[in-house]
Structure formats: C-alpha cells, structure tokens
C-alpha cells in the first residue's frame, strides 16, 4: 500500500475554529447533562511505574462508587491500567459495567519487537482486558515506514479479534504537526483501529482541542467514505470540567449526536472525575465545592 499525505490542515484555521468552540456556553440543564456524559466517558487511568494491586483496587472501587451522595450518577466507562494490572482490575470490576482497558505494545515508547507486542497484547486479553490501548511506532512513522506502522496496527487488531476494541495511540505530541496527525489518524483507521487516541499522557503536549478536532475530522471523512464509525479518545491533560465540556461540544459540532456516547468517545484522565463531581454538586447545591470532600484514589 502506498501512503501519502493527502489531507492538509491549516493550523491557524483549526485554532480559529477551536476559539469559537471554547466560547460556547453550556448552562444549567445542558451543563448538567454534559457533565454526566463526561463522567460516563472517562477511562479512569493509572499508568505509573509504582502502580500496585492495592492502588488499582482502590481505583476500581472509585470507578464503581463514583460519589455515594449522588446515586443517579453514571459509572465511568473503563479503568485503564498496565497489562500486569489487568487481572487485578478485571477481578475488581467483574460485577460492574465498567470495562477494563489495558495499554500494550511496549507502552509508552512502543520500542519493542512486533513479536513481543503481540505477546503482550495476548496476555492482556487473556487476563481479561476488554479494550487494548496500543501505541504506534513513531520512529518508523517519522522515517517514512508507513507500511510498517500500518502492518503493526493491523497485526495487533488481528490479535485483538472482533470482541476486543483496539485504541491506537498516535502520541500526537511527537508527530510534529497537524498534517502528520491527520495522516497518522488515517493510517490507524485504515489499519483497523476501533478508536484513535491522542496520547500516552507521558509526552507534552498531550491531548489538545485542535489535535482532537483534526482527528475527529479524519473519523468523519472515514464515516462518509465507508459508513464505519471509529471512536475517539483524547488523553492526558484534561483535568477540569470546563475543558471536558469543550471537548464534548467539539464532538457535538463535528460528528454530532452519534458520537456523544461512551461507546464512541472517551476521555483518558485520572483527576477529571473529581472535578466533574464538584461541578455537578455545585450545580445541585448552588455553592462551590472543596476537593477535600471527594475521594482521591
């Protein structure tokens, strides 16, 4: 397959578009609906070298008991962990409708052989992962080995099979510009990604609104070309409700109603949930909240 950059992105133009989105204002009921939606889309994440079983268990408890004071809140979408923690998470979540997502393929650098990446993916799935978040080989991408990048994604997707959804992390902060982000999105989508995801969270900038918009447009063009929906997951740096709502508005105005659902849109975040909870409480009670009253797990 011959890959070339076809779809160009003008950076100033895309940022102008984002400037308009960020000036949208969600008030009262629509804000509350938006906040609940955000909550339901969170992949509650812990990806630290010092992760332990206990830490993961605490996070899973949080994921399923988001805030006891408000029983009508939705659960988060998933808990996202390293492959070695999948079993722990899977056990903790077995009675709940919260997915287990595992990063894989030598996360976060992706610097390993395909053989090892396949093996790691298999293990994660064997241990109970519902979703796999892989990283692309950015070095290969930069050296123009687009077929390698494509084949690797296709192989991991094959490993996942149709039941396990594959999120492909482009690590956009390492891709250099929007044209290449768009291009990498197309490669990932065509190779079989179920989701495309911005970042590992280990590189700055992580997710941004303009980067997400570029990826949403790629998803949209793919939808109109094939009828097939691809999910989107911005990850890293989305830590407050206001920003999360702006992401939702971006989805609303780009892909529309179909994608405003945690089957098709996720946030990769660790501290976002509490800020959303505080905002929901503020809306309900009418006064500002302190995070001393929200569990940190």
């Amino acid at each position: 397959m011959q890959f070339t950059i076809n779809n160009k992105v003008d950076k100033v133009g895309i940022e102008d578009r984002i400037a308009r989105i960020t000036k949208r204002s969600l008030k009262s009921e629509s804000k509350l609906a938006g906040l609940k939606m955000v909550l339901s889309m969170i992949d509650l994440t812990t990806l630290e070298g010092m992760d332990t079983d206990k830490k993961v268990q605490q996070l899973c408890y949080k994921a399923t008991h988001i805030h006891n004071e408000l029983p009508d809140l939705p659960n988060v979408a998933a808990v996202c962990v390293y492959p070695t923690m999948v079993k722990t998470a899977s056990n903790a979540l077995k009675d709940f409708d919260v997915k287990v997502a595992s990063v894989a393929t030598a996360f976060p650098s992706g610097s390993s052989s395909l053989k090892i990446k396949i093996q790691e993916t298999k293990e994660a799935i064997f241990n109970g992962a519902d979703e796999v978040d892989m990283v692309i080989s950015r070095g290969k991408f930069h050296s123009g080995e687009y077929n390698y990048v494509f084949d690797e994604i296709a192989t991991i997707k094959e490993t996942c099979g149709s039941d396990v959804r594959l999120k492909v992390i482009l690590e956009t902060g390492e891709l250099g510009d929007y044209d290449h982000i768009r291009f990498a999105s197309e490669i990932a989508i065509n190779a079989g990604a179920d989701f495309i995801k911005t970042s590992t969270g280990k590189i700055k900038p992580a997710a941004t609104l303009p980067i997400t918009l570029v990826m949403l447009e790629a998803i949209k063009d793919h939808y109109y070309n094939t009828g097939k929906m691809i999910g989107m997951k911005p990850a890293g740096g989305i830590s407050n409700s206001k920003l999360a709502l702006q992401y939702l508005l971006l989805v609303k105005e780009t892909l529309g109603d179909l994608w405003l659902d945690n089957h098709w849109f996720r946030f990769g975040a660790s501290s976002l949930a509490n800020d959303v909870l505080m905002q929901i409480l503020k809306l309900k009670k009418g006064y500002y909240q302190s995070n001393n009253y929200f569990s940190k797990d």
Binding site: D16, L26, E29, Y223, K252, E253
Partner: protein
Amino acid sequence: MSSKIKPLKYHEKLNFSPSLENTDSLSLKKEYQLFINGRFQKPLSNKYFASINPANENKIAMVAQANEKDVDLAVKAARNSYESHWSKTPPKERAKYIYRIARIIQEKAKELAILETLDGGKPIRESRDIDIPLAAAHFFYYAGWADKLDYAFPNRNPKPLGVVGQIIPWNFPLMMAAWKIAPALATGNTVVLKPAESTSLTALKLAEIIQEADLPDGVVNIITGPGSTGEMIVNHPDIDKIAFTGSTEVGKTIMRSISSTSKKSTMELGGKAANIIFEDAPLDQAVEGVINGIYFNQGHVCCAGSRLFVQESVYELILRKLKDRMQSLVVGDPLDKNTDIGAINSKQQLSTINNYIDIGKKEGADIFQLSCDLPAKGYWCPPTLFTNVSQSHRIAKEEIFGPVLAVQTFRTTEEVITKANNTPFGLSAGVWTDKGSKVFNLTSKLRAGVIWANTYNKFDPTSPFGGYKESGHGREGGLHGLSPYLNIE
C-alpha cells in the same frame, strides 16, 4: 460518498440552554440628541425617530433627526474648531486625545457590545469579540500616527483637508465610526459623522465617550437621521471631503452630487467576493472559511464571500462538509452567547434578502437552508446556500447583503480567475490552496483590494481595506488609510 450512508445528525443531544448576556451594565436614555460642538442638543427639526431592536421589534430609544439647519450647525462647529484650535493643536496632543478614546472604549467594551447587539441584531459573540475590540484597536493604532505623519510622507509636508463629512452603514456601526473618525482625527481634520438610521446608538455612546475624553468642542460632531440627512452633509458647501461606506448605488449618487465641487472622497462600497477552493486546500478549514465568509454578521458584510467557487473534483465533498457545518450554526437571540446568526438588521433588509432568495429559486438554482426554529417576532433569515448556479444568475451577480451563498464549480485556475474577476465589484476575494505558488498567482491576478489566502474575513487596523472597480476608492486602515485625509501634493 456512498448514497447509503446516512448524513450525520446534530440536534438531538447536548442542546444549548439559553445563555443570555447580562445587560445590567447598559444604561440607556429614552431620547438621544444630536452631538454638536461638544454638547448634546435637541434637533432644530424637533423630530425624532425610533431605533428598533430587530430581534424583537421593540423600540429601544428615540433618536433625533437632524435637518438642514442642524447639519449646518454641525458643519459650522467642525469648521470653527478646525480653524480655531484643532489645526493648531500639536500632533502629540492630538494623539493623546485619540489614545484616550481608545482606552475608554476598552473600558466600556461590555456596555458597547450589548448595545451594538440590541440595536443592530448582531450576535453578542461578534460585537464582544470583533466589533468593539477592533473599534478600540483602530483608535489606538491611528492615535500613534498623529505625530509621525512626516515619516509616512517624507518631504511632502502633509496637511489636513479640513472638515470631513462621514456617512457610515448599519452593519458594523461602532467599528465603522472608528474606521472613519480615528484616521480623520490623527491627520488633523474635524468631523461631522452620521451613523445609519437603524443603528445610531453606539455612535451616540461614542459621542459620550468623546465628551468624557475631553476632546475639544466641535472636533467630532455626530448627527443622526435618515439618508436625507446624509445628503445634506454631502451637499453642504463647507465640507472638504466625504468619506462614505455603504452601497455602490448610494456611493454613485454621492459622487454625482459632488462632481462639480472640489470635495474629495473615499468610497467603501459593495462587493460580490469570490471565495475559491482548490482540491489541494486544507478542506475543513476552507469550509470554516466559507462559513465565516458568508454567515459572519448575517452576511451583512460588504466583503462577504458570497460567491463560492469549488474545484469540481472536490465539489461533492465540500458541499457535504458545508452542509454538515451549517447544522451546528445557532440562529436566534443575538444576546445569547451561543448565537452564531443573529437578526437581520431591518425589516427592509429582510425583504431584500427574501426577494433574492425567491429570485434564486425562480432562476432554477437549488436551495439549501438550515432548518431551525426562528423566533416569532423580529427579522430572521436562516443560513442559505444555492447550488446549480451559474455566472449569469442574479444571485451570483448582485450584492444580497444577507446570509445567502451562491455555489459554482470550476476546473482550471484560469477558468476560476476569469469567473472571479467577471464582476463590476472588486472589494475582496478568498483563495484556498496548499500550494504557495498558486496562492501568489491568484492573489496577484484577482482584481480586488483585499485577498484572503487560506483565511477569510480578517480585519486589523494596520491592514488597508478598500476596493477596486465599483467597490469604491481609497483605503481605510494602515499606512494607506492616512493619505485620503491628507493633502500631500
């Protein structure tokens, strides 16, 4: 695109709740007088007219209607202040007055934005983020020129013209007042300005600001009234220059009126800009540029990109993207922060636009309109586009001054240049392509005063604005906006 694929839907989830701008900061009088010689004076005509909020048809305030005697008073005040002090005021001091005006506009930005939106119907997002900041920036920019004119025109000893009459339109009321007044003052002229009949209020607020800035009496006079008041300014024998922004038709009438006089003129008139998308363009941003080009300010923009030319190979794709993007435009209460398309400025303008929409349909073009709920009262027109249009359709030839886009296709660069230039207008044009050499070819071949390449409808006080051909003469903004107010012979 396969025909089996369903178009995306945008209206079922996460819809906006009302998000109205708080209007507490606005203080309004019931009745507005003429601003002559530094004071607000009752009109000698004893007549007033109502200023209407086009979004709900409510009366906002009564505004004085200047007659011939009032105009004469204003011109006399301007002449007197020119002769007795303004022409002798050191340029450095002139600058400081203008800086003051800029600062006070910034201070009162919110109030001005709300008033602009109430009076003219434009979305608060635009008056808040574009009109008012640009008005302040314009004063700020030209203030700095006042004591540097010798560097703009070396060895020419530039001199002011005297008293300038300025007549401005209703689409950017305060911004147009700034575009007119700021350079006139910086170059040492005195001013008689008339805002448009339907949007006088922010100009009168500006008069209050000018008073607050302690500008000497008579340097700026702001008088209100209908077109006939404008005519009286044009025909007043003691006016040295007319600066007009408005329709080509009225511009021509003015030019005829002053043809046997020595009055100088600047004319910013109509347009029918081509916005051209090549297949290699950043297409999503191009679509955004088209939206911004035609639906900005309800299309009440002389440089609106009202003729879209799409390279045939990407025509279907662009049209799909355009229609999808239109779905997320919010039409409604201009004071709502989420509103993208506000009210049409007046009943009369709405009927002009509707008339063109009828003409488009009768001429056989295919219409696509955003289907949305429109408020029961007020003047509204949803974003509209026509396909199946050719150069000879009236909707592709005449200025509509509304949210109506005419879409055509082209095959080659040469063809699109010919079509783009095939108009008596020449105010602006847009080009979208990723290829630098193509950008430069088009920007040099398109016969228009402002070319936006891979962007559209951008304005800045440092950037000269004005047309070729029947779009007018003279430039406003930038270095080139100074000479129309100076004698540099």
